[in-house]
Symmetry: C2
Subunit: 189 residues, 2 copies
């Protein structure tokens, strides 16, 4: 499923707690991993108006049989997903919530920039705070207070569904964001 918009992959536990495990933006292939895996091990929601295109598995299979270069590129996409997952694990396990949140905004800005979905220092981010709390794995109340920290030090602003980054340097610093962490997209290969 190819995407234009913002979508999320998530799991919900028995008691209804929900954790978002991935965010997808324009140009992402949302469930490509389901092709080798043959299973969808989680749910998908659109978080904005989304246009989607579908690829069917028999076509993908044919690609693996006749187009090795393209196959490696598709493989790469799933492996980039994995790299992002790992970064999220690090953020959840070892960063403060403030730093984790800063890191996510850095990551999203970089990813959206690559696909031309940023405007100067801002991008559309139409989630609710409750949804973002489900991304970061914290409570809604705490999310709100953590967001306030970033706002108070004028690192960024998030009003009427758009995020504006006022102090990229500071945000990168808070996040300990390594700017080359997503360079797979652009590096020559």
């Amino acid at each position: 499923m190819l995407l234009d918009g913002i979508a999320a992959r998530y799991k919900v536990l028995e008691d209804g707690r929900r954790q978002i495990t991935a965010l997808h933006v324009a140009g992402d292939f949302v469930d490509l991993h389901a092709f080798p895996l043959k299973t969808m091990d989680h749910g998908i929601v659109a978080l904005s108006v989304c246009h989607v295109g579908f690829a069917n598995h028999s076509d993908l299979k044919r690609i693996t049989e006749t187009e090795p270069h393209l196959t490696r590129l598709l493989w790469l996409l799933t492996v980039i997903d994995g790299a992002i997952h790992r970064e999220w694990i690090v953020a959840m396990g070892r960063r403060s919530k403030k730093s984790h949140m800063a890191h996510l905004f850095c990551e999203l800005f970089m990813r959206l920039k690559v696909v031309g979905k940023t405007h100067n220092n801002s991008f559309s981010f139409p989630l609710t705070q409750a949804e973002l709390a489900n991304v970061l794995g914290i409570s809604l109340v705490h999310l709100n207070k953590t967001l306030r920290l970033l706002r108070d030090e004028k690192a960024l602003e998030w009003v009427s569904r758009t995020v504006t980054i006022h102090d990229w340097r500071n945000l990168v610093h808070l996040a300990e964001f390594e700017p080359n962490y997503l360079n797979f997209y652009t590096e020559p290969r």
Copy 2:
């Protein structure tokens, strides 16, 4: 790098905090994702005596050109890694530490069983508590106290580098472990 033993992938932050992002056991292909990605975005440590075999990327590339079925299988391996990552994200974000720990032991038992590295209800697990704390993303002290909870209710035991599961039912229940979560390994395809 093909493995016999236990190894981990990790990242360390500026202040020295370390987070383990993946555990690998016998039969795993530890850094296969580095083939499409061309980069190693993290470190690897052996956590037990390990025997390793190496595959070089030019051979892998040749496989993608002539062996589509095998290519899909290799791709599958990296995608299973991703599924485990996602489960870890859920565990870190939305489970209690006790439940997270129980979930990890369930996962390891299942994975080790598939490769014949369990003996009845036990398996070799030669990590230190500090290392396990780096897996779960908690402090050493808290790890120890959480472990005590599982020990106290006689769910499992972990002495002299081997884990013995005394009450699988209870462990699965605590973990909300879905026993089919790793069935990619064994299901017919």
